[in-house]
């Protein structure tokens, strides 16, 4: 298999096409434009491939809703303010139990913010984000290779659970170039019975989230909740790094975890026993490994490029079992490993 040098945004598009994505609608927003442009160029090379530059993020996600119901593997992408606009459609996809992949290359916020890498959308991504009682599966890559792998996985997860899946990257993951080897595309396992393609000679069907009767709506909510609990049991992914004899464990995801690894390697060279737990799925959140680790390690430091969002999930996971401190840089600031190492040493010596 060939190894190629490619940027995160491009690889996301290429991996999607290799995974069988045949419908993409998007709207330009920095720092994810290269992905939209990649799809414009490459969707045409595959049979039945559709690219639409939509008039807005709202239109794009609703086009995805239509395409998904009609049986296409469908994807849209955006960055923070654009994802806010897509939330209406993501909630509808969740209600309708339709699969779709949504890529968010996060930038500084709130509001228009800036166009620099950030992790300020954690709450929005992991709490549903739109209205109603629902969850989105959230995958957080920390390298371009992983972005390729997780993009392909995202389509399988979306199909398997008939649920929207979000790839939560950031401006840096999207724009940096790294060598990548593509995994083998897997055949799509998705029943034709879910495809709304005209009823033929048979009975007509409808797909909708509107359920006016409260008891039936409650039933639908409980059905979704049961599905989410299956996902929470089966789909948790995380990586541990040098936690073996650690005295302090950093918890970080995405590009922040990359920075943390750099800091940990430096500190290990100087004799500090520091490790890392990296959540790969942000929802479902890998609470168990954090709880298990707290049995032998009493000191955690959450590091995020935000003012502290995943921090809440870590505290929920620990339920007071261990000490948690926080180091964060919101607003599009990317800390260096040296800067983080300094913050870790302070905590380590406390």
């Amino acid at each position: 298999m060939d190894k190629i040098l490619i940027s995160g945004n491009w690889v996301c598009g290429e991996a999607a096409i290799r995974a069988g994505c045949r419908f993409y609608a998007g709207y330009p927003i920095t720092p994810q434009n290269e992905l939209t442009e990649y799809m414009a160029e490459h969707m045409r090379r595959v049979e039945g491939g559709t690219f639409i530059q939509a008039e807005s993020e709202i239109a794009a996600i609703n086009m995805v809703l239509g395409a998904s119901a009609a049986g296409a593997r469908a994807m849209t992408s955006s960055s923070s303010p654009g994802i806010s606009l897509k939330q209406e459609g993501i909630s509808a996809l969740a209600a309708d139990e339709l699969p779709a992949v949504i890529v968010n290359m996060m930038r500084g916020g709130p509001g228009l913010g800036n166009i620099l890498p950030s992790q300020g959308d954690y709450f929005q991504a992991t709490r549903g984000g739109g209205h109603g009682d629902y969850r989105t599966i959230v995958l957080a890559p920390s390298s371009v290779q992983e972005l390729a792998d997780l993009t392909m996985d995202a389509f399988d997860l979306a199909d398997a659970y008939r649920n929207p899946v979000m790839i939560l990257g950031d401006g840096m993951t999207g724009q940096m170039m790294e060598p990548v080897v593509f995994g083998k595309p897997r055949p799509r396992r998705y029943s034709e019975k879910y495809v709304l393609k005209g009823c033929g000679e048979g009975k007509s069907r409808f797909v909708r989230g509107l359920i006016l009767d409260a008891l039936r709506m409650e039933e639908h909510n409980w059905k979704l909740a049961r599905k989410y609990s299956v996902i929470a049991q089966k789909e948790v992914r995380f990586e541990t790094f040098r936690t073996g004899n650690a005295k302090l464990v950093i918890i970080a995801y995405g590009i922040a975890a990359r920075i943390a690894k750099g800091a940990i390697n430096r500190l290990r060279d100087s004799g500090y026993r520091v490790g890392l737990i990296r959540p790969i799925t942000l929802w479902p959140f890998p609470a168990q490994i954090i709880r298990d680790t707290a049995e032998r390690i009493g000191n955690f430091l959450v590091f995020e490029m935000s003012a502290g969002q995943m921090l809440e999930d870590v505290k929920l996971a620990l339920e007071g079992r261990a000490r948690v401190s926080f180091y964060g840089r919101p607003g599009g600031v990317v800390p260096t490993p040296a800067e983080l190492a300094k913050a870790i040493v302070q905590e380590y010596q406390r």
Partner: protein, 252 residues
């Protein structure tokens, strides 16, 4: 004895929830007649709106996918681009199509997406209780324009058909009404023609239907039918607005 009138096959045998005298039920029927006549029940996918017709999937015996508020045209675009050989229509009210969904409607029309929009214009928000719509007539009272719509405060009623007709992607737009037998027959022919154009791959088509809303207009059904002719058509004249499809101009 010869049977001259019956329920269309693609219309489910269910009682409508609509108010007495409402035009939605007539329009549903006309769409189903057109689907039957063209023999396209099995390949048709409908997109109902938010609003009074939100339950349209209880009536149309074709596959249907509900759209969020105003997004009918975007959802229809997604379906149609995925399944180009199906007949895809969205069914939208004036609030849905001309307020919250203006952008989606305008751009689907401009792209020339090969879909058909059935646009119900009753000059008010019906389901939410009679608030001012983009199509509310000047001077017309509503729950949110109690003294009557004022051009200065509220702007003018939007003629969406004329606005969209200016776009090159649009091939056929006709404004009809369902207030008299003659108008109903004409609306039925227009809907059938729009679907036929779509099957011929002509491009974006829209049928605007002036539809009586006795409840929110606070009129009897008979009064509201007359009001369409006497008042509403002065702002929204019926007729072919644009026809650049294969069939040429609409034959009445």
């Amino acid at each position: 004895m010869k049977k001259v009138f019956s329920r269309p096959k693609s219309l489910k045998n269910t009682a409508f929830h609509y108010c007495a005298g409402c035009g939605h039920s007539i329009t549903h029927r006309l769409i189903c007649d057109a689907i039957d006549q063209l023999g396209i029940r099995g390949i048709t996918i409908g997109v109902p709106p938010a609003g009074c017709a939100v339950l349209a999937y209880n009536y149309f015996d074709v596959d249907m996918l509900e759209a969020p508020h105003g997004r009918g045209c975007a959802v229809a675009t997604g379906i149609k681009r995925t399944l180009p050989d199906r007949v895809v229509f969205s069914y939208q009210g004036d609030g849905d199509l001309a307020a919250i969904g203006t952008a989606e409607t305008f751009h689907a029309a401009n792209r020339g997406d090969n879909i058909t929009v059935i646009f119900i214009n009753n000059a008010v928000y019906g389901m939410t209780g009679g608030q001012m719509a983009p199509t509310t007539l000047l001077g017309m009272t509503s729950t949110t324009s109690p003294p009557g719509r004022s051009a200065t405060l509220d702007g003018h009623p939007i003629r969406m058909s004329e606005v969209l007709a200016g776009l090159d992607g649009v091939r056929y737009i006709e404004r009809c009404a369902v207030n008299t037998p003659r108008n109903i027959l004409r609306a039925g022919r227009a809907i059938r023609k729009a679907f036929q154009y779509q099957m011929d791959g002509v491009g974006f088509t829209m049928i605007e239907v002036l539809s009586q809303c006795p409840t929110n207009w606070k009129m009897t059904p008979a009064e509201s039918c007359r009001w369409i002719d006497e008042v509403m058509t002065k702002t929204f004249p019926v007729g072919v607005i644009k026809d650049t499809g294969k069939g040429g101009t609409h034959a009445d």
